[in-house]
């Protein structure tokens, strides 16, 4: 009898030990709810996709700022992010973008300049901001008519700093041409090439010559800003210019020497 009772208990333990059905159903319901949530999210996100102009979400990110290459007066900054909902198998270009930007900022200067430039920047920033005017010593003094006290330069105070020309009275006779130089350099300076940690007051001092046909030659970095990336960005701004336009017909010299105080600001 006792043996029979034990067998019954064993059967009960085996088949009636735990209520499996309830938790299983619960689990299934939860999974179904989760799947529904994911599908619902996808649909809702898809509904709003057509509002993504100017930048859609995605894995790769690229900062957008390219209108500096367009010869329009305005420079456009845009922080779109690159994305595709159907990423392809080809090498994903966007992923290299952030690196490329950083390469510009860091990789280039590291080998050559860190040793040379680093000692300079620390002492220079203190004395540098006061330097641009003393640099007028560097202006060429050739071919000038003596005795004239016409202003030597026309300074355009803008985001990129002033542009000055070396000829005695060029600035007063042709201020529109000097304006044009400044405008063009402002439009070709790509601020995203400059390391974000560069102090706002930093300025590089460049000297170049404009030929009669408006093309640039003899570009030199007169004085470093202390930031290799700003120096390079300023140099590239000048190099990007195909022509500043023919020198004015009333100007009888064959070239025009220009100093460009390239300032990192605003």
């Amino acid at each position: 009898m006792s043996t029979l009772l034990e067998a019954n208990e064993q059967l009960e333990r085996t088949f009636g030990r735990e209520p499996v059905a309830g938790p299983a159903m619960g689990s299934l319901a939860l999974h179904a709810a989760l799947a529904c949530a994911v599908v619902f999210y996808g649909l809702v996100a898809g509904l709003f996709h057509h509002n993504t102009w100017g930048g859609t979400p995605g894995s790769g990110t690229i900062q957008v700022q390219i209108t500096s290459s367009i010869p329009l007066p305005a420079q456009k900054l845009n922080d779109n992010v690159l994305t595709t909902s159907t990423p392809s198998e080809a090498p994903a270009i966007p992923e290299t973008k952030p690196q490329q930007q950083q390469l510009d900022l860091n990789a280039i200067p590291i080998p050559g300049r860190h040793e040379k430039e680093k000692p300079k920047p620390q002492p220079l920033p203190k004395t540098q901001p006061h330097q641009p005017q003393p640099r007028t010593d560097n202006y060429a003094r050739y071919g000038e008519q003596t005795g004239q006290q016409i202003p030597r330069s026309v300074a355009q105070t803008g985001a990129n700093g002033p542009t000055s020309v070396s000829d005695t009275d060029f600035g007063s006779r042709f201020p529109w041409y000097v304006d044009g130089i400044t405008r063009k350099l402002r439009s070709t300076l790509n601020r995203q090439e400059v390391d974000a940690s560069t102090p706002l007051s930093s300025q590089a001092y460049l000297i170049f010559t404009i030929r009669r046909d408006g093309t640039v030659t003899d570009l030199q970095l007169g004085q470093s800003s202390g930031s290799p990336t700003l120096d390079r960005a300023c140099e590239r701004a000048v190099q990007r210019v195909d022509t500043f336009g023919q020198l004015p017909a009333g100007y009888n010299q064959s070239t025009l020497r220009v100093t460009y105080d390239c300032q990192y600001g605003h």
Partner: protein
């Protein structure tokens, strides 16, 4: 406690979804731009009519309107509106009072002005440009024109004077007021090649083939027009001489297969096009006369729509479907050094900017099932591969083509059942509809 542990994965999932949603929402914010940099504050005074020839008022009205429109469309001027200009119409440097123009509300830094007269059937225009900030030497530009008196030539002279001003103040970049745009239009019953001035005026039919023609490409010297046309041999590249006003022979464009999308090199010595004569559509290059034909690409999948780097003529950008959906690629002119430019979506119709730095193209970034996305014009800087979208939420935009000044782009926009040609500044602003009748597609801006 046990229940809490069981619910933990679900809580984590929900939290993750919420976090992702927030991140995505941040990326959707449209970042503002600092477009508010100064343009040249320019005033264009009405020209002074001289003499009493009855033609003068009408020609003067045309000249004034066209000059104002050209300067306004240049993209580099903040043009003083007529209502803010002084009432005076100075006809010579002696008559202008620059202080008036420099003062508010005009506040102009430069003033264009002059005189116009008709004498013995000749239209004579004197035009000046003065700098109001330079009282001792104000003159920036002085021009004199003498042409037969007609409405067309009044427009031409206004274009010419506008281009001189734009070149002088725009840093040596030539204006586009005298350029033309070639396009395909079906308004005559069949798809023919048409031409118009850059501002949409003077629209005229170029070809009369009575078949289907597309992809017009004007040669750099403006003497020949290459295009694709459907004929007895199928789709072939054909050539129209604008000097002779008739079709001229181009045998390399007809040899077997479908031949599409011709593209001139900027020196006018070479022509690239897409041809399926070897099976797949591939990029082929030949001399302008048709000789020295050779194939540049040999990949599975279509290769179409080539465009040369006009700065160097050493690179070609084109559309390839080798990985599925069409993408933009660049390669050297010998077919080497292939680089993929777009990373996904549906990218077509590349056009290389005159300075060689930027590609404009049509891109459906989010192309795919359930989300076809919008087809918009984008530009990409080839050095950094940074891109920007320049048309937004306005129809389906395709076939961009750069103006020679690198500041303007012409493109086709399909909105509803209509397709028209539009132009805009290369930053997407100042969009202007140029065609209003028939269906008009595939614009191509002349080189000069």
């Amino acid at each position: 406690m046990k229940a809490t542990v069981r619910l933990l994965p679900l809580i984590l999932c929900v939290s993750f979804c919420v976090a992702v949603q927030q991140l995505l929402a941040q990326d959707w914010v449209h970042v503002s731009t600092n477009m508010a940099q100064e343009k040249i504050r320019l005033a264009a005074a009405d020209f002074k009519p001289v003499g009493d020839d009855p033609q003068t008022p009408a020609l003067k009205a045309t000249f004034d309107a066209v000059l104002y429109n050209d300067l306004s469309a240049a993209g580099i001027f903040d043009l003083v509106s007529k209502s803010m200009s002084p009432q005076a119409t100075p006809g010579s440097p002696q008559e202008i009072q620059l202080a008036q123009w420099a003062a508010a509300p005009a506040s102009a830094t430069d003033v264009a002005f002059g005189a116009l007269s008709v004498s013995n059937g000749r239209l004579i225009v004197y035009g000046w440009l003065d700098d109001t900030r330079n009282t001792t030497n104000p003159q920036v530009l002085g021009k004199q024109y003498n042409e037969t008196a007609s409405q067309d030539l009044a427009r031409t002279l206004a274009h010419r004077f506008a281009d001189e001003i734009i070149k002088q103040l725009g840093g040596g970049v030539n204006g586009i007021a005298e350029t033309s745009i070639y396009f395909v239009s079906s308004r005559s019953g069949s798809k023919e090649i048409w031409a118009m001035d850059y501002d949409g005026e003077n629209q005229r039919q170029v070809t009369h083939l009575g078949t289907i023609s597309n992809s017009p490409r004007i040669s750099p010297d403006g003497s020949r027009l290459a295009f694709a046309s459907l004929g007895r041999e199928g789709w072939s590249i054909r050539m129209y001489s604008l000097d002779l006003n008739r079709m001229v022979s181009f045998p390399s464009g007809t040899a077997g297969g479908a031949n599409f999308s011709p593209a001139w090199s900027s020196d006018g010595t070479k022509l690239a096009f897409s041809s399926s004569r070897s099976g797949d559509p591939e990029i082929w290059v030949c001399d302008a006369g048709g000789g020295n034909l050779h194939k540049l690409t040999s990949f599975r999948g279509p290769d179409v729509a080539p465009t040369w780097n006009p700065k160097t003529n050493s690179q070609i950008a084109w559309v390839s479907g080798r990985t599925g959906l069409p993408q933009i690629y660049t390669m050297d002119q010998d077919g080497g050094n292939i680089q993929r430019i777009t990373d996904g979506g549906y990218a077509t119709s590349p056009s290389w900017s005159p300075n060689g730095q930027i590609l404009a193209f049509s891109w459906r970034r989010n192309y795919g099932p359930g989300d076809p996305g919008a087809r918009d014009i984008h530009i990409i800087d080839l050095a950094s591969l940074r891109w920007d979208q320049i048309t937004h939420e306005s129809g389906s935009n395709d076939f961009p083509s750069w103006a020679p000044d690198g500041r303007h782009i012409v493109f086709e926009r399909q909105d509803g059942h209509r397709t028209d040609i539009w132009s805009m500044l290369a930053d997407g602003t100042d969009q202007r509809q140029l065609t209003h009748t028939g269906n008009n597609t595939m614009p191509n801006w002349s080189w000069k």
